[in-house]
């Protein structure tokens, strides 16, 4: 159980440090057959699920890290371990220099955690009451509180909602209010578990912009999970990809692209609906006069391809783009399955 010791550890530039962390769960298996009733009662079958297997990684202060993986990969387990809710079976965990289990309380003063499917708001009170509550619980100095509140209200457009009961907010409004609540105590590290879940385009945009601004201007370290890879790529400079409880990838999104056969895409617009045949690119599909190709992004190949394209009659436009990250990750998930 997370204890409430308050011994502080000197800060370092490492915000999150996981070393060889393993976490297994036991799942009871029970069939619904009448003949198994006695067995279910006396010796129910157990299945061991390895949620995390020897996972190690570090996050430096000021980094914006995406933490992704297929369903059941172990993302939420990691976040719960980082927040001191679960303790690992083996391995070492340090968050902002604290041991989350032994130093939960001092850690929580500096950490902000938001689970997208939950709310920390007081349901039957206007959201400003939740903000005032947080100020007391976290001992937030008046000046910091006012400053953070003003900024959050401004950025997340919450001012008109201050006197609205939490229960009456829409999902997007509630998430914004939860994010504002999360940031009131100026956390050094924020952990967000699928914060964009169910948000509309506009609400998602507001949240992404604000998180990027916080990271850029205030140096807040962010560790975020989401299934929306485009969102993650827009926000994070680094991706940790989890597969079956193991860290399968740690690097940039571009480096991830190189792992797959899915290559750079190029759209060639011509004056004909017939796609030109190109030696150095593979045709994928055509949409009217726009023809989509997949190409090897090797610089030499690209130079040769551009030369080949320049010789094409009726060429109108060339547009190159990275391989869609969703497609890249989907291929990796399939490969790891």
């Amino acid at each position: 159980m997370p204890a409430s010791a308050s011994t502080a550890t000197p800060p370092s530039d490492i915000a999150v440090n996981l070393e060889q962390v393993t976490k297994r769960y036991l799942q009871w298996q029970r069939s619904g057959q009448v003949s198994n009733t006695l067995k279910n009662l006396l010796r129910p079958e157990q299945r061991v699920v390895v949620a995390l297997n020897q996972v190690s990684f570090q996050v430096r202060q000021g980094e914006f890290v995406a933490y992704a993986g297929a369903n059941g990969a172990g993302k939420s387990t990691t976040l719960k371990i980082l927040a001191g809710m679960l303790h690992p079976e083996t391995g070492k965990v340090e968050v902002l220099g604290y041991d989350p289990l032994q130093q939960r309380i001092p850690l929580m003063r500096e950490l902000g955690v938001l689970f997208g499917n939950r709310t920390e708001l007081w349901w039957d009170l206007p959201i400003q009451s939740s903000f005032a509550w947080k100020k007391v619980i976290w001992d937030i100095p008046e000046a910091t509180y006012q400053h953070n509140l003003e900024q959050a209200l401004e950025m997340l457009e919450l001012k008109p909602l201050l006197n609205t009961f939490a229960r009456e907010l829409s999902l997007g409004q509630r998430m914004r209010a939860d994010l504002a609540l999360l940031l009131l105590h100026s956390p050094k590290l924020i952990i967000l578990d699928e914060p964009t879940l169910g948000l509309d385009v506009l609400a998602k945009r507001r949240m992404i912009d604000y998180l990027k601004q916080l990271n850029r201007e205030k140096g807040v370290t962010v560790l975020i999970t989401s299934h929306d890879m485009d969102d993650l790529e827009e926000m994070a400079g680094r991706l940790l990809l989890l597969s079956h409880g193991e860290l399968a990838f740690d690097g940039t999104f571009d480096a991830l692209r190189k792992l797959t056969t899915i290559r750079r895409h190029i759209t060639v617009t011509t004056d004909s609906q017939v796609a030109p045949e190109l030696e150095r690119a593979t045709w994928l599909r055509s949409d009217g006069f726009a023809h989509l190709y997949e190409v090897n992004s090797d610089p030499r190949n690209m130079r040769l391809l551009l030369g080949e394209l320049a010789e094409q009659p009726g060429l109108v436009d060339i547009e190159t783009g990275k391989a869609p990250i969703e497609a890249v990750v989907a291929e990796l998930y399939r490969r790891w399955r």
């Binding site: 009871w28 029970r30 619904g32 279910n40 009662l41 129910p44 039957d124 229960r167």
Partner: protein, 257 residues
């Protein structure tokens, strides 16, 4: 019917599959509670209370034991109020089954663990206490059926009230719990109440719940009157429920969403 059976059995297995052993503390609490009540009546009758009321000790014991065995059936509590509180009533409308039949299936499914693990062993062990649990009149069965019908109607009427009250739905639940516990006769037989209060209560809608079938089971001198009263409340409450339910439906949908 198969769909309702599937719903009920899933509801029943929800608790049972968590491990029967974890249901034991709950059962132990109920047993201790029952033993205390039985001894309380024994003590009371030993001090000569039986002379003041028209009940014998054995009747009182049968009444209490039967009430415990059949409690879930005598004082119906459907998931309706809870589901409304959770704002999940919409789920019932999203399934290709009648809302009322689903509530019925879920309620019956909810009874199964207690009936299997508490009521059945208790009923089988009744001769050891020794307390008679067989009703003295066959009229007990139609009375029990009517009691359940009135119970469903009252519970669903409370659920409609909860829709109206929304934010303070739990207050309605608390009041219902207290009122039903006392005025239904599930805990204290009407015959034991002073100033003739019981004579009035036994013909009230709450009295049509536990009080009527239990009184008939132990040999009430007025079984037909009690059954007629139950029938009357059925005739009054179900149309009332129909009206109230339809009037609350729109609010229920917006609340549930």
């Amino acid at each position: 019917m198969l769909k309702l059976y599937a719903t009920a059995s899933l509801k029943a297995s929800e608790k049972l599959r968590g491990g029967i052993i974890y249901l034991l503390p709950d059962i132990a609490l109920r047993v201790i509670s029952l033993v205390t009540l039985l001894y309380l009546w024994r003590t009371l009758f030993a001090s000569g209370a039986g002379q003041e009321i028209d009940l014998s000790l054995s009747q009182m014991m049968s009444y209490t034991l039967l009430s415990e065995i059949l409690y879930d059936l005598l004082v119906i509590a459907t998931p309706a109020s809870q589901w409304l509180y959770e704002g999940l009533f919409l789920s019932l409308y999203q399934r290709p089954l009648g809302v009322l039949s689903q509530l019925l299936a879920l309620t019956i499914g909810g009874w199964i663990p207690n009936l299997l693990l508490f009521s059945l062993p208790l009923a089988l062990s009744a001769p050891l206490w020794p307390i008679r649990i067989l009703p003295v009149s066959w009229l007990f069965l139609p009375s029990l059926l009517l009691c359940m019908m009135v119970g469903f109607a009252i519970d669903l009427l409370f659920a409609c009230l909860i829709i109206r009250m929304q934010r303070i739905s739990w207050v309605v639940t608390v009041i219902r719990g207290a009122v039903v516990a006392i005025f239904s006769g599930a805990l204290i037989p009407f015959a034991a109440l002073p100033y003739g209060i019981g004579n009035w209560l036994q013909f009230s809608p709450f009295g049509a719940l536990a009080g009527a079938p239990l009184a008939i089971a132990i040999g009430s001198p007025i079984p037909w009157q009690l059954i007629l009263s139950q029938l009357l409340w059925c005739v009054i409450l179900w149309p009332l429920l129909y009206l109230f339910y339809n009037a609350s439906r729109e609010e229920m949908m917006s609340y549930g969403g």
